[in-house]
Symmetry: C2
Subunit: 106 residues, 2 copies
């Protein structure tokens, strides 16, 4: 049985990544860890362009993991961050179904 519940909370995923990687991440530092995030973002772009669904899923997982690992180093709680920014509807228009003009930054 996977360690990660398919209905895992963002908080528990952040803790999993913390346990798995924090020591290495702190040793490497935020800038070096951000470089890894960028590498994975590039791989995600490639997978979206020409990858299989499984390859795309793997790259999404990697980007999320590296984003989360940087959040751990920076001391940011992702669960609280998204609740604060998106918990009351779109940050731009305030609605649960966004009506912002597409040219505007939500």
């Amino acid at each position: 049985m996977p360690t990660t519940d398919p209905a895992i909370s963002l908080r528990d995923f952040q803790q999993l990544i913390r346990q798995m990687y924090l020591e290495k991440d702190v040793a490497r530092g935020i800038d070096g860890t951000f470089m890894w995030l960028m590498e994975e973002v590039g791989e995600l772009a490639a997978a979206l362009r020409e990858g299989t669904p499984d390859e795309q899923a793997a790259e999404f997982a990697d980007v999320l993991a590296w984003l989360t690992t940087i959040a751990n180093v920076a001391g940011v709680d992702l669960s609280a961050a998204v609740a604060e920014k998106y918990g009351e509807g779109c940050p731009g228009c305030g609605l649960l179904v966004c009506t912002c003009d597409d040219a505007e930054k939500p």
Copy 2:
């Protein structure tokens, strides 16, 4: 009370973002939506360099939201994706506390 439970599951967050933005995202397409992700990644870099903790939290939330929104367009379940990739330990060394050489790609 925020719509988003601070202990929100990744699955529920993906559904929240789907409800909020999917129609607009599909109309814009994956490439255009990926451009927004890149813009937010740049803002995250700036916030990590010189932003306050609150500013950093907001940028982490935005990057996560845009990543999630692209996953919706691509038809990828982030919760299943991270369970598959990270649910049994580090993808590189298989351990819950990673022992990969730092030069290796996990």
